[in-house]
């Protein structure tokens, strides 16, 4: 405990990773534009490239400044109220004092299971969102443990990289879905209309490209938001509370909770890796799991 928490290295890494992610997404759209122009009509090359650049820039800028809002909207979170969520505010104020970070904005989402996530682009624009089940079922120490965990995600800029990944790559898989469906749709009704052969081929190729991309994108989210981050946030979170039993007992409650199928629908796949524990409670473990097993996290905390 004697060593002061230093986030400098992690902050640097997360900023660099976020930057590269943005570059990759930008290049992706430029290449996409290039393919479209090559297939459709090479004479439109410049127009299409300009459109692609404008589109990808605005796409990235909007995602960068609104990733937290997109994540919050996708789980239908509402701002927490000072009066009815008093304990939530107290726990967050305590953790903000203990970490020396500005007070994050607080949100509550409707769900019976215990879960929470943090988002935003930097500590000045951070949000913490918890489920209503969390506030009902955790006591003060457990809640502080969970908020402390989220606070350390905020402190080391995990939130920027994690939310950007979820939003940028999540959107790609949405675009892929749209293309795949329109491809299927056009092939069904294609005969009735006399379509240009080129457009048809273009759609088919694009469809195939996206069919390959979509699952890769989905896995990229979980790989990028690596399981190591959760261990790190557990460890530095308890440096804020100085009370490991709080987080341990919260994790035990999370482990033993039953999650109904209906409840899982409140958590879109793309944002699931942001949460403190996998809200979809998948049985997979190992390299494709978005979260380390809770048993491992508990035993690591108990050894501290």
């Amino acid at each position: 405990m004697a060593e002061k928490i230093s986030f400098q290295d992690e902050i640097q890494k997360n900023k660099i990773k976020s930057f590269f992610l943005i570059i990759i997404i930008f290049v992706f759209f430029i290449i996409l534009g290039y393919i479209i122009s090559a297939i459709l009509d090479p004479s439109y090359f410049f127009v299409i490239m300009i459109v692609a650049i404008i589109f990808s820039l605005s796409y990235i800028l909007i995602s960068y400044y609104n990733s937290d809002k997109i994540a919050l909207a996708s789980v239908k979170a509402k701002p927490a109220s000072q009066t009815t969520h008093r304990e939530f505010y107290n726990a967050a104020e305590n953790m903000s004092i203990a970490s020396g970070l500005p007070m994050p904005r607080l949100y509550v989402m409707e769900s019976h299971q215990i879960n929470a996530f943090a988002s935003g682009r930097d500590p000045e624009h951070a949000v913490i969102c918890v489920t209503s089940g969390t506030l009902e079922r955790l006591n003060k120490q457990e809640l502080e443990g969970v908020i402390g965990h989220e606070m350390s995600h905020i402190a080391n800029y995990d939130i920027r990289f994690m939310t950007l990944t979820a939003v940028l790559i999540g959107m790609i898989s949405i675009i892929a879905q749209i293309f795949l469906r329109s491809l299927w749709f056009s092939s069904v009704s294609g005969n009735s209309r006399d379509r240009d052969g080129r457009v048809q081929i273009f759609l088919i190729i694009l469809g195939i490209v996206f069919a390959i991309l979509a699952p890769i994108a989905a896995n990229l989210v979980s790989l990028a938001i690596s399981r190591k981050r959760e261990f790190g946030a557990d460890a530095s979170g308890i440096k804020f509370t100085r009370y490991p039993p709080g987080l341990i007992s919260a994790l035990k409650k999370i482990k033993s909770q039953e999650v109904s199928e209906k409840d899982k629908h409140r958590f879109p796949k793309a944002v699931a890796p942001l949460f403190i524990s996998d809200p979809l409670k998948k049985k997979i473990s190992g390299i494709f799991a978005t979260h380390p097993s809770i048993e491992k996290r508990i035993s690591k905390l108990e050894r501290m």
């Binding site: 928490i5 107290n90 305590n94 004092i97 020396g100």
Partner: protein, 182 residues
């Protein structure tokens, strides 16, 4: 050759600037966390008059304890130096603990909504004071670490930055408040 000398000179200047800024940032953080403690202590002191009002309504003859709280509050608001503030703060804390212990003897007081709310608010502030102190000590630790480890120690001497003392929790605070039942 000349370029080598120039770039090394620039590098040295940058290192000097870096350490100067780092020490300033760290010591500013200490000042800031100190004002955090102040804010919470002040908040607590502001709640005390209301609390005493509701206590007086039910337990008028507990004059000693009421006086103790009033005095501690006055001392806290008047304190200028950090150790004096800490001492007054812990006196107030002890006095408040005795008030809540005494309240056990007055069922009507315990049932008073206003009193309960104040008790709740004070315990919330208590937590915040504890966390603010923890952060203050954390800030001191990172400052002292920079001042005492190599190469920071050289720059700390150069810029005349000395180590700073940790915040001690006063002894009175660790003791359980004594309550006389007579």
């Amino acid at each position: 050759m000349i370029w080598w000398i120039i770039s090394i000179a620039i590098l040295i200047v940058l290192v000097f600037i870096y350490y100067f800024n780092r020490l300033v940032v760290l010591s500013n953080r200490i000042d800031n966390s100190l004002s955090q403690i102040d804010v919470q202590l002040k908040k607590r002191a502001d709640l005390v008059p209301n609390l005493l009002e509701s206590v007086k309504g039910y337990a008028k003859h507990e004059k000693n304890i009421i006086k103790e709280v009033t005095d501690a509050r006055k001392a806290l608001l008047g304190a200028q130096t950090l150790p004096a503030k800490m001492k007054a703060g812990s006196q107030l804390e002890t006095a408040l603990k005795s008030i809540f212990a005494i309240a056990e003897n007055y069922p009507k007081l315990r049932a008073n909504e206003n009193f309960l709310q104040l008790q709740n608010e004070l315990s919330v502030i208590e937590d915040k004071i504890a966390y603010a102190r923890q952060f203050y000590n954390d800030s001191i630790l990172s400052y002292n670490n920079t001042c005492t480890t190599f190469p920071g120690v050289i720059f700390a001497r150069l810029y005349n930055k000395a180590q700073k003392p940790f915040l001690q929790i006063p002894k009175e605070e660790r003791a359980i408040p004594k309550v006389k039942f007579d």
